[in-house]
């Protein structure tokens, strides 16, 4: 039995805002609906919005949902969250906020909250006449063929929810939950996103450090920092493999080092330079640094 919160059960047994909104041609009012999912997938949501055109504001929201307890509760929660918001404000609602409104969802049910967010986006895009990308025709862009899920959608859910495993991705958007042939592809995506995130974070940190300081690093600061990272973070790893490194000089952004011990004669010393030393110094000190062996 799923461990649902009281809020989930309450909104399942007593859903708010169920049903459709009839288009009655009222002046200054638009009625639109967006839909996601299918009966094949096991859950589907049709979200109806009543929009005050002049204010770009959601006056009313209603839902029709085919799905489980948490799908119905998530749909109801979504309608409660967006009523009264402008469309731009509503577009900022994330699936995480829907889940939080419910006091949380079992991880295997997080896809219900994602469905809510996507239906909202579909409805607003439809109202604004924005074409939603369909990736079914593009070979390769569709990662999970069982559930018809594209790479951009997987990327988005990984980034927004900080997902780190394939299982989590399946729980959030079902991708990978069918035949399993795309599991390796999803894992690659997770790794690529994590790598991008790490690089971005390093760059931002370095930029922030400079901005906060309001001045570029002085040569002395730069050398001190490089020395510190080499001593504390790089050397222990190299020493464990019988190698070592010594800082020789720093000329602008070029860091000259001497590889010693096993590293000096190692056939993969270039890799050591670039991965073990340069990337670490870029991340910890300055993204523009280049490491050379002398």
């Amino acid at each position: 039995m799923w461990d649902y919160t009281e809020k989930v059960l309450d909104l399942f047994y007593n859903p708010k805002n169920q049903g459709a909104i009839a288009a009655d041609n009222e002046s200054g009012i638009a009625v639109v609906f967006g839909e996601v999912g299918s009966i094949a997938c096991g859950d589907a949501l049709r979200l109806h919005l009543k929009i005050e055109i002049a204010q770009d504001k959601i006056l009313d929201a209603r839902f029709q949902t085919f799905g489980c307890t948490s799908a119905i509760a998530s749909s109801s929660a979504l309608t409660e969250l967006i009523k009264g918001l402008t469309l731009d404000e509503a577009l900022k609602i994330t699936n995480r906020e829907i889940a939080d409104y419910l006091g949380g969802l079992p991880e295997a049910k997080m896809h219900c909250s994602v469905m809510g967010q996507e239906a909202l986006e579909a409805a607003i895009y439809k109202y604004r006449g924005i074409e939603v990308e369909h990736h079914e025709e593009e070979e390769g862009a569709l990662v999970c063929r069982c559930f018809g899920i594209s790479e951009p959608k997987i990327r988005r859910v990984i980034i927004e929810n900080d997902l780190t495993t394939v299982e989590q991705v399946s729980n959030y958007i079902k991708a990978g939950g069918g035949c399993g042939s795309c599991l390796a592809g999803i894992e690659d995506l997770i790794q690529a996103i994590q790598a991008e995130k790490a690089a971005t974070s390093a760059r931002v940190n370095a930029e922030l450090a400079i901005v906060l300081d309001d001045r570029p690093l002085t040569t002395l600061q730069k050398i001190n920092l490089i020395q510190q990272v080499l001593t504390e973070e790089v050397r222990p790893v190299l020493l464990a493999d019988g190698g070592d490194v010594e800082l020789y000089d720093v000329k602008d952004d070029v860091v000259q080092v001497i590889l010693k011990g096993a590293c000096g004669s190692c056939s993969s010393s270039t890799t050591t330079l670039k991965i073990a030393i340069e990337s670490r110094l870029k991340e910890r000190v300055l993204p523009s640094l280049v490491v050379e062996a002398v």
């Binding site: 799923w2 059960l9 009966i39 094949a40 859950d43 049709r46 949902t65 085919f66 489980c68 049910k109």
Partner: protein, 401 residues
């Protein structure tokens, strides 16, 4: 809230008489049946009596009964021993709708170089004997199939399957977990070599099972250790479990002649639901079914939502929908039957027992129409004005394997 328990294919209530029989073996008679003293010996005698009741239930010899820990252990042991007994044959035949404890063992043997044929089922959940005849060869070591399906209750033509298996020299194993206590079983003059029973499906406790092994079968033990069960299943006996199962078998044997009561209640429930609720249908063969099981697909709504709604009234049932299982795919059994998605996700199994009452069935009939109506009012598919139910959604993309 009073519980209305209609999930007896998942597990059953332990019969109070079974509990009474077990209690002394959880307290005063705690001796080890393998011990040489009288204190242990009297426990050994009680185990012999229990074995006798199992033999009577199966119309078999006492020496053909091995007590195990559960149905899963019995099925695992049966498949492994059958393959070990015919090591030069490398082909297994089973069905697409087996319990995971058979399917997953077969898949493991596939990785070890065996080929496995998974027989398909038709829209009513029945296999095709011609498909079996076409698949079986002189290389087939084992035919392993369930007697009746746990989800639909569909009963397979076991002796006809066995005749085909025997003609090809294959070993025949039957998972009878859902059948014991519901249909008469007789191993005398049967084609079955190995047969599995699980205690908690027939009002005994969990943690006790049986593997029937035909006399003369070249058995290879799965659990090695002491000499218990004549060296065929090592490990100190689960004495209270065995005593409980013995009592449950004795009662089940007696109760078989009253099974028509369960059938009558099942039919009352089934017909009542079909007549009160539009757009629903029985999943499974109309007649070749267990007397206690009905599986009904309610179109346009989802199974877990139905179960949680029933739960509000204290009614326990089961669903083959993906959302109840933690998996993202609905029941492999219902998928193998090729049910349309409109029914597949909204299928509910009600399984009765001899403890089920008419008042309980009537209560389900009272509340179920309201539950279905409420969920259909929430569903976008019930009145599909926008034509969302496309052709591709109506039929299953491909049969499960």
């Amino acid at each position: 809230m009073t519980v209305i328990y209609l999930d007896n294919n998942a597990t059953t209530k332990v019969d109070p008489a079974v509990i009474d029989a077990m209690l002394p073996y959880l307290s005063e008679y705690y001796g080890n049946p393998s011990s040489m003293h009288t204190f242990g010996g009297q426990v050994g005698k009680a185990i012999r009596d229990a074995r006798s009741h199992l033999a009577q239930l199966l119309n078999a010899e006492e020496s053909e009964i091995i007590f195990t820990s559960c149905g899963t252990e019995s099925n695992n042991t049966a498949i492994r021993t059958a393959l070990a007994a015919q090591p030069d044959r490398r082909h297994i035949i089973t069905t697409q709708v087996e319990h995971p404890c058979v399917l997953n063992v077969c898949k493991q043997f596939e990785k070890q170089g065996y080929t496995v044929t998974y027989l398909s089922v038709d829209r009513q959940g029945q296999i095709d004997l011609l498909e079996l005849e076409a698949a079986i060869t002189g290389n087939t070591a084992l035919v392993t199939t369930m007697y009746a399906n746990n989800e639909t209750g569909v009963v397979f033509p076991i002796e006809q399957i066995g005749a085909i298996a025997k003609a090809a020299g294959a070993i025949f194993h039957v998972d009878a977990v859902q059948v014991a206590g519901k249909l008469p079983l007789s191993m005398k003059d049967s084609t079955i070599d190995l047969l599995t029973i699980s205690g908690h499906k027939l009002h005994a406790p969990k943690g006790i099972g049986v593997l029937y092994v035909r006399r003369g079968f070249r058995f290879r033990a799965f659990l090695l250790g002491g000499h218990q069960e004549r060296g065929r299943r090592a490990g100190t006996e689960n004495v209270p479990g065995i005593i409980g199962l013995g009592k449950a078998a004795e009662i089940a044997n007696f109760e078989l002649k009253y099974m028509h009561r369960e059938t009558r209640l099942r039919d009352r429930l089934e017909q009542g639901l079909l007549s009160r609720i539009a757009d629903c249908e029985i999943n499974g063969h109309p007649t070749q079914r267990l007397p206690n099981t009905t599986n009904i697909g309610f179109k346009y709504i989802e199974g877990e939502a139905i179960l949680f709604s029933l739960n509000q009234y204290g009614i326990c049932a089961s669903s083959g929908s993906a959302c109840t299982s933690g998996s993202l795919e609905p029941s492999h059994v219902l998928r193998a039957m090729g049910l349309p998605y409109t029914i597949l996700h909204g299928s509910i199994r009600f399984s009765l027992s001899r403890f089920t009452t008419e008042a309980e069935v009537d209560r389900v009939l009272e509340v179920m129409p309201g539950i279905v109506n409420r969920l259909r009012e929430l569903s976008p598919f019930t009145s599909d004005a926008a034509g969302w139910l496309q052709e591709r959604d109506m039929t299953i993309a491909g049969a499960a394997t």
